[in-house]
């Protein structure tokens, strides 16, 4: 009997130690999942918690599940989450301000109440003795599961198969975008622009007069104000435009000053550049 | 197996309704004729039922019985006693007249109106109501009865809400609002009653483990089915409440004036003369047979409520300014008489009540349909808008008067016989109630004559001066009804002969006997 096998039906001090340390981390991870502002951070915390849970599965003798937990959950599902987070916007941070009246308090009340009730229930029904999975895992955990799945639970298993296929198809259908009309040619687009009378030339590119030329930095207008037109619509709606106008102009000034020094010209403007609205304050 | 006559009587109008509804939109007249023919064929079947029925034979005749929902013991069980036969005949007689009277009520309005009036639908719905009413009269399975008792509300709802008078004093928008209000009120009020009854039906099943009226009643009679007193009373109240709403009994009556006021005259007749009868009929058949002890227990309260209905309905009829509302309140008064007769628990009272149901159907139909003809001519329901009609349309006025006289139970016309039987039946057991109810006949004279005086007599109002007299179609509707009123007034024996044995049975169900006259008792 190796140690892991033994762990299936007894608990050692080591396991207790492991439980308390990792359990604390899991709870902290769970709390961070809930309270982190950015979805990416939440996802990372959740992944951590899941790995800890995988360890706990192993500790409880569920070797197959432990591995599946890491491979499927942490590996596949969390990756899927991260992909979606990326689509939606990695940097976007949620405002944690509550908009529904009383929602937070009700939620906390329900959460605490539910937790208390669960604890009370478990405490009420707590078992002093337990069997351990040693017997069940005698022929190996995976073999045991397999024999159950393909005999007793074969019907449910088949249905889950169907479910997975349906889910895959459903996801494809949901995310697939069907073009309902022919894409417009360049000629048509330009004609449309002329007809509408706005922005007759093509939209300006981002990052003009800016030190950066990343797509999320708005180009500056001649008076130094940023033009949102220069940034892609998706970023605009995500609110992910970085405003660099002030520092860019200050940089420009510094550059000009240095050039003057080098060209020995007199300063045109002694004070630092300010944006018009700041200047008016 | 013999020909299922009862099923056929109910199924024919049902099929007719489907067929009428299926007639293409352009063939409006064809749909009307089809509906009329179906209703006449149903009348023929009803007459066959009447002829095949043997008053002195078994209690329920022409029975049919098939298992339906086996798990709950629900059976498709039909059978008629004398009371049911009389009411089926009444229904079958009235429907052709209703269809004929409403011949143009569902014609499309002139262009520009936003109301959509599918002619086919109107006549199909009337036939549907007929089918459901007939099967309600025939059902001897409580559950079967319940289903059609409730299902009747659906076509009625559309008839009330979908088809109003052609003209309205407050304009079309208001009319539509008021109509839908009336229809919804009708539906909700009756649904509430029906749901309470449903609870009682389930309760009955729990207690009796059966839905068959005959089996429960015989089990009750021979003592093999014992119910706790309180259980029986609660179940009784559940049933009675639904029937009292449908009937309607004071103070559950307020849906009726709204419904009758807003619907067209033929539909109003359908409500009060046909559909409401199911309520009073069911009191007689279900309340008394299933719960004899509770019926006797509740009698004093019900009699007082019926008495209030009589006087209150009549007084309110006097105070109405709208012709149709007036007739509605008069009907409430009459339903008070019917319920009083049923619960007086004397053979005169119950035979009288059954006869009253028949006669009230005919007399109200006569009065209301003529009122409808009148209203369609002037385009107003307000009494004050009329005056002197007698001068310009004497036949209309004359038929209206006869309808009114029937409503006030003039001797010689049918309602007198029934009203007097009810009064006598009540009086023999409850003299005080009988005497107070007699005041109802004075009040009836008041509201009928005031109505007649204000609309028909006096100087001719300019608005009515060009009013045409009754047309042939309208005469065809009214004349047979009046003939029936006179015939049943002088010779009610055909109806009483059928009804009496059934009433005798019911009386023995509730363990009641007619009180003996004083002189005989002394001997």
């Amino acid at each position: 009997m190796n140690a892991q096998h033994l762990a299936a039906y007894t608990t050692s001090t080591g396991e207790a130690f492991q439980f308390w340390v990792l359990g604390t981390i899991a709870v902290i991870g769970a709390l961070c999942t809930v309270f982190m502002k950015k979805a990416v951070h939440s996802a990372l915390c959740l992944a951590g918690t899941m790995i800890i849970l995988a360890i706990f599965y192993l500790a409880n003798g569920a070797y197959f599940l432990g591995i599946v937990q890491i491979v499927v959950y942490t590996g596949a599902i969390m990756m899927l989450f991260l992909f979606v987070v990326m689509l939606v916007g990695v940097t976007a941070a949620d405002s944690l301000k509550e908009t529904i009246k009383g929602q937070r308090w009700l939620a906390l009340l329900c959460g605490v109440g539910f937790g208390v009730l669960l604890f009370a229930g478990i405490g009420n029904a707590s078992l002093k003795e337990f069997n351990g999975t040693g017997q069940a895992n005698a022929n190996g955990n995976v073999e045991g599961l397999a024999s159950l799945i393909f005999t007793k639970y074969v019907f449910a298993f088949e249905i889950t198969g169907a479910l997975l296929i349906t889910a895959a198809v459903g996801a494809m259908v949901l995310t697939h975008r069907e073009r309902t009309e022919r894409a417009k040619t360049q000629r048509e687009l330009s004609e449309q622009r002329i007809r509408e009378g706005r922005h007759v030339p093509p939209l300006p590119a981002p990052g003009v007069y800016a030190r950066h030329n990343a797509v999320d930095i708005a180009g500056l207008l001649p008076d130094g104000t940023p033009s949102e037109l220069t940034v892609s619509k998706t970023l605009r709606e995500r609110g992910q435009i970085r405003d660099v106008s002030t520092e860019a102009l200050n940089d420009l000034r510094a550059l000009e000053q240095r050039a003057e020094e080098r060209l020995e010209r007199t300063a045109i403007e002694p004070e630092t550049f300010k944006r018009p609205e700041e200047a008016s304050k | 197996m013999s020909f299922p006559l009862l099923t056929a009587t109910a199924a024919l109008p049902a099929l007719g309704a489907v067929a009428t509804a299926a007639v293409p939109a352009a063939q409006r007249t064809a749909a009307k004729w089809l509906a009329l023919l179906v209703s006449l064929a149903t009348l023929a079947l009803a007459i066959t039922v009447l002829l095949r029925f043997d008053p002195d034979g078994a209690r329920y005749q022409l029975t049919e019985s098939h298992a339906w929902i086996k798990d709950f013991g629900v059976r498709y069980e039909l059978g008629v006693d004398g009371i049911a036969v009389a009411l089926i005949a009444l229904t079958a007689v009235l429907i052709p007249f209703i269809i004929l009277a409403g011949w143009h009520d569902a014609d499309p309005l002139e262009t520009g109106s936003r109301r959509w009036r599918p002619t086919q639908g109107f006549f199909a719905l009337i036939l549907a109501v007929e089918a459901m009413v007939v099967i309600s009269f025939e059902a001897t399975d409580v559950f079967l009865f319940y289903i059609f008792f409730e299902a009747m509300l659906i076509p009625m709802y559309f008839l009330i809400g979908g088809f109003g008078d052609r003209a309205h004093e407050h304009g079309e928008e208001t009319a539509a609002t008021q109509r839908s209000y009336a229809a919804v009120k009708f539906l909700l009020y009756n649904l509430v009653g029906g749901l309470i009854m449903l609870a009682a039906v389930i309760g009955l099943y729990v207690v009796a483990d059966n839905f068959s009226l005959q089996e429960i009643a015989s089990a009750r009679a021979n003592g093999s089915l014992h119910m706790a007193t309180s259980t029986e009373r609660w179940l009784f109240l559940g049933f009675f409440f639904a029937f009292a709403v449908k009937a309607p009994l004071w103070p559950l009556h307020t849906w009726l004036p709204n419904a009758m006021q807003e619907s067209t005259a033929p539909v109003a007749v359908l409500i009060t003369a046909v559909v409401d009868k199911v309520g009073t009929f069911a009191m007689l058949r279900f309340c008394l047979q299933l719960f004899p002890e509770a019926s006797r227990w509740a009698t004093p309260v019900i009699l007082v409520l019926a008495l209030i209905s009589i006087v209150y309905g009549a007084l309110l009829a006097v105070g109405q300014r709208d012709i149709k509302r007036l007739v509605a309140y008069a009907s409430i008064s009459h339903f008070g008489f019917i319920i009083m007769g049923i619960f007086a628990m004397t053979s005169q009272g119950q035979s009288g009540a059954t006869l009253y149901m028949v006669n009230h159907g005919i007399s109200t139909a006569a009065l209301m349909l003529v009122a409808g003809f009148l209203i369609s001519r002037r385009g107003s329901r307000l009494i004050a808008d009329y005056g002197g009609v007698q001068k310009v349309a004497p036949v209309l006025a004359g038929t209206f008067l006869i309808g009114g006289l029937a409503t006030l139970s003039l001797p010689g016309l049918a309602p007198f016989v029934s009203e007097f039987l009810v009064l006598v039946g009540t009086f023999t057991r409850y003299p005080v109630i009988g005497i107070i109810a007699t005041f109802g006949i004075v009040l009836a004279a008041l509201y009928v004559l005031v109505l007649y005086q204000r609309t028909m007599t006096g100087p001719v109002k300019p608005e009515v001066s060009a009013m045409p007299d009754l047309r042939v179609r309208e005469l065809v509707v009214v004349a047979p009804l009046i003939a029936l009123l006179i015939f049943l007034g002088v010779y009610p024996k055909p109806v009483t002969d059928i009804v009496n044995p059934a009433v005798k049975q019911t009386m023995s169900d509730v363990h009641k006997k007619d009180p003996k006259p004083e002189v005989e008792a002394a001997k």
């Binding site: 009700l106 939620a107 329900c110 539910f114 009730l117 669960l118 009370a120 229930g121 009420n124 | 009120k185 909700l188 103070p251 009556h253 307020t254 209150y312 007084l315 309110l316 006097v318 105070g319 053979s347 005169q348 035979s351 009288g352 002197g388 001068k391 003039l410 001797p411 010689g412 007198f416 016989v417 007097f420 039987l421 009064l423 006598v424 009086f427 023999t428 009988g434 005497i435 007699t438 006949i441 004075v442 004279a445 008041l446 004559l449 005086q453 007599t457 006096g458 100087p459 001719v460 002088v490 010779y491 009610p492 024996k493 009483t496 009496n500 009180p515 004083e518 002189v519 005989e520 001997k523």
Partner: protein, 648 residues
């Protein structure tokens, strides 16, 4: 022979049906059809009468069973007719006077475009009235009872375009319905007491029933009689009923229908004989009414209304007599018959006067008409002499007997009743003389009429509708109208003598009604003498007031009593204030109560649910998280419930 009873009723009924259903096609011959069928009925009556006369007194009851009308449990009503001496008397009166009045109406209604319908209604009335007197049970009688009420309603309101006529018709029907209520309660009482309401079983078993029940039945019958016979307190409709055409007033509201109450009481004599309290009530009602009617009759300027008051008063005499029991029954009926003659004659005369005077009814606009309409004057005059009880004429015999019988009642009651009857005789003499003088004597006040003053009682608006405001040209009526008047006048002159000499009428009726001689404190001669004195006094006063002095064309204000009498002793005002106004308030408040309270509860329930669901709807704010909270809360509750169940 009894098979002839049904045709007796059927003839006028057929007439009514043919005339009313037949439509305009019969407009030209309708009145003759009506008259013919009415006469046919009279002929049948005569044949039956002859048949009865040919039989012994004990076998003079014929019955004809047609069919079973209602049969439920012990409740058995048959359509059976019963012809005995009492009904025979009525049959002859009804069909005889009825036929005469049909004939008269041919002339009177000549210019009315709806004459056919009028005759239809008259025939309907005859049929109903015959049914009333021929019925063999109270329920069938009730049919006739209401039938005559209906005919009366239709005929009073015959000129429906006049609002006053329509109102009067409605009033008559309603007041009668109150009486009918009494009759129906009486029938119910009979049914509970005797188990039947046919004449035979009821009237022969009165001895078995308790007196309380019999008194109740008697009082209810009295109520019925009051309604139909316009007795106090249900008399108010009769005056207004004069809105109907005059032949109607003559036939229905003088000769026949209004006497139905007397018939009812006499027919139910056995019940009343066994219930002295009820009998007393009958006499009181009769005495009060005879004075009431007489007083009202004194003050009316409308000739028909004056006659209506007189009718009321004379029926009061009959009711009084009927209340006296076996001493009075025969005389009640005898007075009824003679009254039928002379009052019908008087009304026809009044109709004739009106016919000649452009439908003017105000006696203050008559005067000196004897020169212009001699036949009317003579027939009316004979009727007048008959009603005041001029010796030798019919009223003398019949009324005298009633006064005698009243005294014969004995005791204080007898003195009071007799005194009232005597006083009534004096007042009768007064008001009838007044009518006579104002109409046929004095100056011709219809000439050079000033513009009508508003105080004057309004004439029949028919005059206005005919558009004749010009001065009237009094003229005698056509033969078709005068012949019936002459026949009736003959009846009023000789009827009483014919009946009384040899107690013919007494012997004829006695087997049905029974008869007993009371022990009068006064001798017959003394009573006759006192009556004569009263008569003379009455005539004298009237002559002094209306004969010697000219009659003002506009009614003077009059004494308090006069004013009260003009307003029917405020009885109508009482009705108006208490019943009409009270009823209006009651119905109006009930309409309000129904709308706000009864319906309010219903609508309130609906509104309550509506409001509640409106509130609840706000919980459904559309935010998925909100729903999630409630789900989570629900889950928590479920856990709690599970734990609780485990704990318990």
């Amino acid at each position: 022979m009894e098979n002839l009873i049904a045709p007796l009723i059927a003839a006028p009924l057929l007439g009514a049906a043919v005339l009313l259903v037949g439509g305009r096609r019969l407009d030209r011959v309708g009145h003759w059809i009506g008259t013919l069928l009415s006469t046919a009925s009279f002929v049948f009556g005569l044949i039956l009468f002859a048949d009865l006369l040919g039989k012994n007194a004990e076998h003079r009851t014929l019955t004809q069973h047609l069919w079973t009308w209602i049969s439920v449990g012990g409740f058995q009503a048959d359509v059976t007719f019963r012809l005995d001496q009492l009904s025979m008397t009525f049959v002859l009166l009804i069909t005889g006077v009825g036929s005469l009045i049909h004939l008269y109406s041919v002339g009177y209604m000549e210019h009315d475009e709806r004459r056919r319908r009028f005759f239809g209604y008259l025939n309907l009335f005859l049929a109903a009235m015959l049914l009333l007197v021929l019925a063999d049970n109270y329920l069938l009688l009730y049919v006739g009872w209401e039938g005559v009420g209906l005919a009366s309603y239709l005929l009073i309101g015959f000129w429906q375009h006049k609002p006053s006529a329509a109102t009067a018709a409605k009033k008559a029907f309603l007041v009668n319905r109150v009486g009918d209520m009494g009759l129906s309660i009486a029938i119910m009482l009979m049914f509970t007491t005797f188990g039947s309401f046919a004449f035979g079983p009821v009237l022969s078993h009165t001895g078995d029933a308790s007196e309380g029940k019999l008194t109740a039945i008697g009082l209810m019958l009295l109520l019925a009689a009051c309604g139909k016979s316009a007795q106090v307190p249900l008399q108010s409709w009769l005056g207004d009923a004069m809105e109907g055409p005059t032949p109607v007033s003559a036939l229905i509201h003088a000769a026949t229908m209004v006497t139905a109450g007397v018939y009812l009481i006499v027919r139910s004599g056995a019940v009343f004989n066994a219930a002295p309290d009820a009998q007393l009530a009958v006499t009181v009602v009769g005495a009060v009414t005879l004075l009431f009617g007489a007083i009202v009759g004194c003050a009316k300027d409308d000739i028909k209304k004056a006659l209506a008051g007189s009718t009321m008063s004379q029926i009061g005499y009959m009711v009084l007599a009927a209340g006296l029991g076996p001493i009075g029954y025969v005389f009640a009926i005898m007075h009824l018959v003679t009254h039928g003659f002379f009052k019908a004659g008087l009304f026809l005369g009044a109709g004739s006067v009106m016919h000649g005077m452009n439908d003017e009814v105000d006696m203050r606009r008559y005067g000196g008409l004897r020169k212009y309409m001699p036949v009317t004057f003579i027939t009316f005059g004979l009727g007048y002499l008959a009603i005041i009880g001029f010796p030798g004429l019919s009223g003398f015999f019949s009324k005298d007997k009633i006064i005698e019988a009243a005294f014969a009642k004995g005791g204080t009651e007898g003195w009071i009743l007799g005194g009232a009857a005597l006083l009534g005789a004096a007042i009768t003499a007064f008001y009838m003389t007044r009518v006579m003088l104002m109409t046929f004597f004095g100056e011709e006040r219809w000439k050079n009429q000033p513009t009508r003053s508003p105080e004057a009682p309004s004439a029949e608006p028919a005059a206005e509708t005919r558009g004749e405001h010009s001065e009237p040209h009094p003229h005698e009526s056509p033969k078709v109208m005068t012949i019936p008047m002459i026949v009736l006048a003959v009846g009023s002159v000789f009827g009483g003598a014919f009946f009384s000499i040899g107690d013919r009428f007494l012997h004829w009726l006695e087997p049905v009604t029974g008869h007993s001689e009371g022990d009068s404190p006064l001798s017959a001669t003394a009573v006759t003498g006192a009556t004569m004195v009263c008569l003379v006094i009455g005539v004298a006063i009237a002559w002094a007031r209306y004969g010697r002095k000219p009659v003002p064309a506009v009614a003077p204000r009059g004494s308090l009593l006069t004013r009260a009498a003009r307003r029917d002793l405020f009885q109508d005002d009482f009705n108006h204030v208490v019943l009409v106004r009270g009823g209006e308030h009651l119905t109006r408040s009930l309409v309000y109560v129904d709308h706000t309270l009864v319906d309010g509860v219903v609508n309130g329930t609906a509104a309550g649910f509506g409001g509640l669901s409106g509130r609840l709807r706000r919980l459904q704010n559309g935010f998925a998280r909100s729903y999630a909270v409630s789900m989570f809360g629900g889950a928590a509750l479920l856990v709690a419930a599970t734990l609780l169940m485990r704990a318990v």
